[in-house]
Symmetry: C2
Subunit: 267 residues, 2 copies
């Protein structure tokens, strides 16, 4: 049995392409349909109700594309809309929070984990819940880093100002004694090098994109949804508004290749 329907991936914008990159590396034969809501990006500062409404709209479009699994490549949406999406749609739904939390628990030695993300993700407390739901003994330090996304979208991945903001955000957590840091926003893997450069000390970075891709693989295996090994995997990218500057940043940094971008109308 093989299932050539696409893996449907959505995000508030372009950031979820870090998850697509991880999926392409791990599951090169699969077909992927990526939908980025660039017409309404960013979700980070928006209310849970608005984010839930947008998430359902995007998931519905991916179901029309015949997706066999829905991947929520956005920490903000994963934080506030995963139960709703799971209830509403008949295919498995994979987010980024639970896989990231599990990986952090495997990585930490001193049981003290740091989490960074958008304001909405941190305010939701979802990583803390996922971490402590799996291990009540773990200590969690969280911090919203709202300027990192704009810095990344401007392509300042190797820049003095970005380094300063990273230091400002992370210094209190380091002083607090974390040994593991969850990059709780799909943009942040693009800053992994900068964060390692700035921190110098040995902190394990947990990339939620990579861990999400592994969770998708597990789901495909468990539900017998894999495509044939002979399939030459493909990637379609659709956006709800014309791509901005960040698409070039992401494409270059991730070495992703895809054909023309489709423009997807919203309801």
């Amino acid at each position: 049995m093989s299932d050539s329907r696409p893996i449907g991936v959505f995000d508030s914008g372009i950031g979820g392409l870090t998850v697509v990159k991880a999926l392409r590396d791990l599951l090169p034969n699969e077909n992927i349909f990526y939908l980025g809501d660039t017409a309404r990006v960013p979700y980070g500062p928006k209310s849970p109700e608005t984010v839930q409404r947008y998430a359902v709209e995007l998931a519905r479009i991916l179901m029309q594309k015949n997706s066999k699994v829905l991947v929520v490549a956005c920490n903000t949406v994963s934080s506030v809309a995963l139960p709703l999406l799971t209830k509403k749609f008949p295919v498995p739904v994979v987010g980024v929070i639970e896989p990231g939390a599990r990986a952090a628990l495997q990585a930490t030695r001193n049981r003290h984990v740091g989490v960074i993300g958008t304001r909405a993700t941190i305010r939701s407390g979802s990583y803390e819940m996922a971490l402590r739901g799996n291990d009540k003994s773990v200590r969690v330090s969280s911090r919203a880093c709202p300027l990192l996304v704009p810095l990344i979208e401007e392509g300042l991945l190797d820049d003095d100002v970005t380094d300063q903001m990273i230091m400002r955000y992370l210094k209190p957590m380091l002083a607090d004694g974390i040994d593991t840091l969850v990059l709780g926003c799909t943009h942040y893997p693009l800053l992994a090098n900068a964060i390692e450069r700035v921190l110098k000390e040995k902190i394990v970075l947990v990339d939620s994109a990579q861990n999400c891709a592994r969770a998708v693989e597990d789901t495909l295996d468990r539900e017998s949804l894999r495509v044939a090994a002979s399939n030459r995997g493909g990637l379609n990218v659709a956006l709800t508004d014309a791509a901005d500057n960040f698409l070039n940043v992401a494409r270059d940094a991730l070495h992703l290749s895809f054909s023309e971008i489709e423009l997807q109308a919203l309801p």
Copy 2:
């Protein structure tokens, strides 16, 4: 004759409150209805078609509030949607571009004007057109400063990182010899102090919010739309999504007072 209908003001988010502040100072008796599209902010990186569609939706809501004039307190919208709004709605429409351009032409001594704004505003070339439409001899240097809005929204109005970004954006324009700088984004007046601190030299800053307010005053006089002098002016604020952090930043920096925020549903 007096007209107590509100002045309808809209913006992609909270930034247009700088225009409201200027209107309150100049026209304290008028009633103002402010509508901020926080559910879809920011407009800066979005396509002209999408911005036009959103602008018409917001203007329609303000017409339902019985507005006597529509004030587009957003440079991005003013850049791409003013003719469309003027055609579609039966009340006067005032933007921020033309008033800012005229004030800059009055201020410049060496006929070399700088303009900063969002990517969409600068890409549209609308300030350049307005400036050169009024005075063909003027030289214009423009620069998109996409990180200033996020820095302002984080409240980093007096901060080393913000100063560095200002310097980075403005240095080439100074080297080029501008003597006047148009703050072509309604957020930027909140950075006027920082810009003056960083630039040191004598550059005249043209605040598009203040000049927009003056243009509204002219329009009210010309069309006999003024409220009675006895009226105690009021301010209503409606947002399309729950207010984020920036509302507090703006309220504090602008010393604005208004009662509860209404939540305005989008169509």
